[in-house]
């Protein structure tokens, strides 16, 4: 019964979304206030029914209702409740339902925090979000219904891979979807602005905090995925340039470009068409990613069970959404003439250079990801494009970006001079050059020019950001949140860059054979093997090794890597012992017995690997507090002021806060 309610609620949500997609938009074009007024209640209604629908599916998992095919295929009564809940989005159907629910959540949030937005604009935005929702809900209902019943009800669900029962996997997909779907808000604002054909850039002001928040989720989602791969897949890698990872990286890079371009469009009314194109591009790449992951067009480690029928559906959906937005763009963009000019040396130019490099990076990732497909389509054989290629082309592009990044802080709007900027930046520039050359000579095991480049990029961005705060000459406590957010996010980027550089160039890995009592030395650490004991777990038996790690005779930690046997059918699992630290991770995995108290081990020393994710947290935090800035609320007030005398005091809009968290 409950699954049928879920299915029914989903259909109701679809009906509401159809109403939301058609009437407010139509009403806004034909000046029918009653139809326009439908937008908000429809957005709330859609969310309500989606939540009911999703809750029903969660319920089926929690109570182990294996009459539901999706539950039987993806859950198991032996799993802890927490993992049964997260198994809901562990496979295609449920994750798509989550997608649709998050989309209606964003729609409802826009409706809720919309006090400063004129109803006509809002109705168009919500209509477009409704139309996107229609596409996704149809997709779920037509091709991937998670509520489908089984005629023969199995007693137990399918055995689940222990790899997937993990904390990282509980929160990684929802975070990522929040980011992907969040980009639809900026997209909808841009579309609404184009439908209206308005010249003004007021929509940018409303779209900015939403874009920030979406970007924050995307940043954290990607970082979580990378972190999960690091500790769970166990090859010590944190980024594999897999098509699925690239599919999440591309919207992130475009989102980063969009955040910067929105700033210019809002403050200087420049790059209007460009900003709209980025809004379209960001969401389009989210959709493209969804298509690539679920259609089986590219081989990936993480892809869902592929189904060409589903692929065709998303492709048609892609065609409708992106195609119509680009057609609209083609015919409307020339109207969006930017006002105000700027010189070659100006903040506008700097941000355009930033945008250009970011877009070239996106194009490169797209090219590399799709190239095997292009070559295949041309009948020129099969090739692979992987990490060596991406590292080779992306690192130089990133370096160009980082070198200009620090300058951007000091550039003035409209017109600036090189001399003035150089006067401002020479201190951080010189300091970071010193750090980059001297630090590796003093501390590093071996001198490597790549390390110099990485350290230079990291310290240059950090110092430039800090120097900028100082140069403003104000108390840091009085600095607007947006400025703080920017500084923190850029320092986060620098942190990640330094982490990536150091772990890529200085990590050590070794497979060793150790007898009880023997030890192995790596990077100044001594790994002493104390022996292996049998260990009885809840549903497994294990061999548990004890490894004492010392440095200069000082005890650092003791780790217990295990090798687990979950019984006949399950894969043997390795449970690595990781000692995480601020400056290095030590990572020990237990291999096979090699006779007479001897075992094989894999040992890693990963310097500064945590900085990669620490930087991402800083970026996310920076983006988050920037979205909280009072300025957005104040700006909105100014934007609606002209109507204050007409509308009377009662209707005077309250300052709306622009965030959902």
């Amino acid at each position: 019964m409950i699954p049928e309610i879920g299915h029914f609620a989903l259909i109701l949500a679809l009906s509401v979304a159809i109403v939301q997609g058609i009437f407010p938009l139509w009403g806004s074009l034909t000046a029918k206030p009653q139809w326009i007024a439908l937008a908000k209640p429809a957005a709330y209604g859609q969310l309500l029914f989606m939540v009911i629908s999703f809750a029903c599916l969660v319920y089926a998992f929690v109570v182990n209702d294996f009459s539901v095919k999706y539950t039987a295929n993806n859950s198991n009564s032996q799993m802890p409740t927490m993992f049964r809940v997260s198994a809901v989005w562990g496979a295609h159907e449920g994750s798509l339902l989550l997608w649709a629910m998050i989309l209606s959540g964003w729609g409802a949030a826009v409706a809720f925090f919309s006090k400063g937005i004129p109803p006509i604009m809002l109705s168009r935005v919500l209509s477009i979000m409704g139309l996107i929702g229609v596409g996704f809900m149809l997709f779920v209902i037509v091709t991937s219904n998670p509520f489908e019943r089984l005629l023969q009800i199995p007693l137990e669900g399918r055995q689940l891979n222990p790899l997937l029962q993990d904390f990282g996997l509980i929160i990684h997909p929802p975070m990522l979807y929040m980011g992907y779907v969040g980009l639809s808000v900026a997209f909808s604002f841009a579309m609404a602005a184009m439908i209206g054909g308005k010249l003004d850039a007021s929509w940018v002001r409303w779209a900015r905090p939403w874009t920030n928040i979406a970007w924050v989720f995307l940043t954290l989602g990607i970082a979580l995925g990378s972190w999960w791969a690091y500790y769970e897949l166990g090859w010590g890698g944190w980024w594999f340039w897999d098509p699925v990872e690239n599919a999440s990286l591309m919207p992130w890079i475009v989102g980063t470009a969009l955040i910067h371009s929105l700033a210019v469009t809002e403050k200087r009314a420049s790059f209007k068409a460009w900003t709209i194109l980025l809004c379209i591009l960001g969401f389009s790449l989210s959709l493209l990613g969804t298509f690539l992951v679920r259609s089986g067009v590219l081989t990936s480690v993480h892809s869902f069970a592929s189904d060409p029928g589903r692929g065709l559906f998303i492709l048609i959906f892609l065609l409708v959404v992106i195609g119509s937005s680009l057609i609209l763009f083609s015919f409307r963009a020339h109207k969006l003439r930017s006002v105000g000019s700027f010189s070659l040396i100006s903040r506008e130019s700097g941000l355009l250079v930033n945008n250009v490099i970011l877009l070239v990076m996106t194009a490169t990732v797209l090219l590399g990801t799709l190239y095997p497909l292009i070559i295949d389509a041309l009948g020129a054989g099969k090739i692979s494009v992987g990490p060596p290629y991406f590292n080779f082309v992306m690192v130089p592009l990133a370096l160009v970006l980082f070198s200009v990044m620090g300058l951007g802080f000091f550039l003035r709007w409209k017109k600036d001079s090189i001399e003035r900027v150089l006067k401002k930046v020479w201190i951080p520039l010189a300091a970071s050059l010193v750090i980059a050359f001297v630090l590796p000579l003093v501390v590093a095991p071996e001198f490597n020019f790549k390390v110099v480049l990485g350290l230079f990029a990291g310290s240059w961005i950090t110092l430039a950001a800090l120097m900028w705060v100082v140069s403003l000459g104000r108390s840091p406590f009085k600095l607007p949140l947006a400025s703080w957010g920017s500084v923190i996010a850029h320092i986060g980027m620098a942190t990640t860059v330094i982490g990536i550089t150091l772990v890529s160039l200085y990590d050590t890995e070794k497979d060793v054979r150790l007898e009880k009592g023997q030890s192995y030395e790596m990077a100044g650490y001594k790994f002493a093997f104390e022996g292996v004991e049998g260990h009885q777990g809840k549903n497994y038996t294990a061999n548990r090794a004890t490894m004492t790690i010392t440095q200069d005779g000082k005890h650092i930690t003791t780790v217990h890597p295990e090798k687990r046997d979950y019984g006949r059918d399950a894969m043997a699992m390795t449970e690595a012992g990781i000692d995480a630290g601020f400056t290095r991770d030590l990572f020990v995995a237990l291999g096979e017995p090699l006779g007479k108290d001897a075992w094989s081990f894999r040992i890693y020393h990963k310097p500064f690997v945590r900085w990669i994710w620490l930087g991402a947290i800083l970026m996310g935090f920076g983006g988050f507090i920037a979205a909280l800035d009072k300025r957005y609320r104040r700006m909105r007030k100014i934007a609606v002021e002209p109507i204050a005398d007409n509308a009377g005091k009662k209707n005077q809009p309250k300052p709306a806060s622009g965030v959902t968290i």
Partner: protein, 165 residues
């Protein structure tokens, strides 16, 4: 008051922060640990580099080093065998491509088919920076457009539409 210093945010940050550091024990696939002795460091380095750059042709996008597949093991073995016999990087790459084609290489060779792949990114960068430069030059000479009367009206419409509420 600045939100950055509110205790709630601090706690949140601390929470996420700890999450990334506390975790010590984790599950992973059974690692296959193999022992290979090499004559010198250069050979070992070459071997590790090659198994990271060669694709396990049977797997879903995994390199030889990461794959547990039988075939990946055999291919690693073959690479080791060739290296220990004194084979160079090219010898191993040629052996693998003779059998599996360019598909086996994660770093595609530079040839006619992959021309765009290799020269594309620098050309994108150069062209777009050039276009940008010209765009900035041109817009400087453009007169600033005034809002037309109809545009003004539409803006006014948009702004005043609030009162219909």
């Amino acid at each position: 008051m600045n939100a950055l210093f509110k205790p709630l945010h601090l706690k949140l940050l601390l929470g996420v922060f700890l999450l990334f550091f506390v975790l010590g024990m984790t599950a992973l696939y059974a690692v296959k640990i193999e022992f290979h002795s090499f004559e010198n460091k250069a050979q070992e380095k070459l071997y590790l580099q090659l198994i990271a750059e060669l694709r396990c042709v049977k797997c879903q996008n995994q390199n030889l080093a990461e794959s547990n597949a039988e075939l990946a093991k055999d291919m690693r073995e073959k690479a080791y065998e060739l290296i220990i016999k004194g084979g160079s990087r090219d010898d191993v790459v040629n052996y693998m491509t003779a059998r599996y084609g360019d598909f086996v290489l994660y770093k595609p060779p530079f040839k006619m088919q992959t021309l765009l792949l290799w020269v594309g990114p620098p050309i994108f960068l150069f062209l777009s920076l050039l276009m940008l430069f010209r765009l900035i030059r041109n817009q400087k000479n453009q007169p600033i457009e005034k809002l037309s009367e109809t545009d003004r009206d539409s803006v006014r419409d948009l702004l005043t539409s609030n009162k219909e509420k």
